[in-house]
Symmetry: C2
Subunit: 335 residues, 2 copies
């Protein structure tokens, strides 16, 4: 398999719920007016807590510093696994499950924090730029690693400076924190859209993204109209490809003929990971969920946000996943 | 003829060029998300100096006070002339020309300030609420006057309290200021759009309204790319009807099949009135332009903004209008 280190230098930020109105102008530009920006990697995810924005440096320039903005201090690089046809995997699963054992687990063992961003098209594994040599050192046995340079993929030189190779040595394993999970009742769809038809859904998308929190709702207490449901909406426009993750209630607001899913009517349930905001430094959170899913060959999308992580699993597997997670939380974690 | 006093209480405000970004959120709501607002009268006009917004009190609530916002202190009421089929006028002209002698001139003689807003559908004559009794007293001989009350037109009681009728007596006429005019080279079109197709032009309209001033252009020095052209774009959504006034350069950005004009290819030239910002208290400015146009039976739209007034006359009449205005500025004003 091939691993591509994409040519985007990303920032991960959060915008407070009440602060979104102040960023309407730059965000609408980044979402709808491709001719006016050089941003090539943009993702916006609404959760009950805040809005998480992942975007490249060109996009980041559009956002003025503000009390409503929190910026994670690192530069993150997106990795992307491309199966080159020779893959020996017998798995039918899609999403993060496919890369759980080959990428997620080894990086967790090396104590590399990852920030996952699954889209309709692919799964981006974001790693800190400063961890790149460890990442390459960890994954180069399993993967052909390519760098994107000026739009071309070139094989990455595997020879690392000796000062960096040392850090590939994993520190002793510590017992991982097992985070509480929340399994809301909404059903989600993972969809895409021809970028040329984006203008057709502009007013609906603007409505859902910027106006769906009524003025009377308290920002902190409005995670859900229904206590068992969660507000979660994700839009991304990456290298010209659009991906949307929304629940079926939001989906009903869009014209049915423009958005498409990989297989008609495919619905997903969410597992939100974390009782308290997770932060960016803990390692192994994705691995903790994705490994057992991989063992059971259950497909999963995975979307990290500023505060929590979110796995999406097929609706028909939610009972198995729930049981699995409950067992994980009862039993002592395997070393 | 009938004169309707419409059931909207309007505010006239300006937003500075650099301040528009801070009002993107409420303005997009007012323009595109009719279900989210009870605003029924909304107009936004970009000029080189600023943005003029005319909107009812429901709309006004959406705009947070800001250093970028100037609010004219009065409540304005829109009047609308409806020809009831018995009109004896032989004029073929449209727009403000039709009401120059019957409405504009008498109000000017009574020293009533008017703020004009021509749209594709009709011409709104805005008068201050405090001037209403004078307006009614002045126009009730010529017009059947109706008030709109809860969506119904009811004949207005012509009996005014004696304390108010006194003010109908006109103060002695003073020699009016003759303002300099500017006649830019752009050609304008006055267009409409089915409200149901507004979403189809949303991204283009958002681009033109909110992103057309490039970041490198100085807000004060960007009235025109070409020194002889003027930046002028007007959008209104009033009682469900959309009107757009834009120059042919802006028009080219919109899909040709959605916007319509009253007669195909009809183009208009602009006369901007005022060398210095006009303010809101001077009377007779509209009359000064519209009376000679009426004498020559030349159609005209008329759009007042926070700083200047703008008449639009048919392209083929611009030479006559220019001559007329030059003569007006050479000769002593008729008493």
């Amino acid at each position: 398999m091939d691993l591509h280190i994409l040519d985007h230098r990303l920032r991960v930020i959060s915008i407070s719920k009440s602060g979104l109105v102040h960023f309407t102008h730059p965000l609408i530009k980044l979402i709808f007016l491709r001719n006016r920006t050089r941003c090539k990697f943009f993702s916006l995810t609404e959760t009950p807590e805040n809005y998480t924005v992942v975007l490249d440096e060109e996009g980041f320039k559009e956002l003025q510093p503000s009390e409503h903005l929190k910026v994670e201090s690192s530069i993150w690089l997106p990795l992307n696994v491309v199966s080159n046809g020779n893959a020996s995997s017998s798995s039918q699963a899609v999403g993060v499950t496919k890369i759980a054992k080959s990428v997620i687990a080894p990086l967790a063992q090396q104590h590399v924090s990852v920030f996952m961003l699954s889209t309709y098209q692919t799964d981006f594994i974001l790693v800190r730029e400063k961890d790149l040599s460890v990442v390459v050192g960890t994954l180069e046995e399993e993967f052909n690693i390519y760098e994107e340079v000026g739009g071309e993929s070139v094989p990455m030189l595997s020879l690392m400076p000796s000062s960096q190779t040392n850090s590939v040595f994993a520190p002793p394993a510590t017992r991982p924190t097992v985070h509480p999970v929340l399994i809301p009742q909404n059903q989600f769809c993972v969809m895409s859209l021809d970028p040329d038809t984006l203008p057709s859904i502009a007013t609906t998308l603007i409505d859902v993204l910027f106006y769906s929190n009524g003025p009377k709702e308290d920002a902190q207490s409005s995670p859900s109209r229904d206590l068992d449901c969660i507000k979660f909406f994700s839009f991304s426009l990456i290298d010209g490809y659009i991906s949307l993750v929304m629940d079926t209630e939001a989906q009903r607001q869009f014209p049915a003929d423009l958005l498409f899913t990989s297989s008609s009517g495919e619905l997903w349930r969410m597992v939100r990971i974390g009782g308290q905001p997770l932060g960016f430094d803990e390692c192994g959170i994705v691995a903790q969920i994705s490994q057992p899913l991989a063992d059971s060959d259950i497909s999963a999308y995975y979307i990290s946000t500023f505060s929590f992580d979110h796995a999406l699993v097929p609706e028909e597997d939610i009972v198995r996943v729930t049981d699995m997670l409950q067992n994980q939380r009862k039993e002592p974690a395997a070393s």
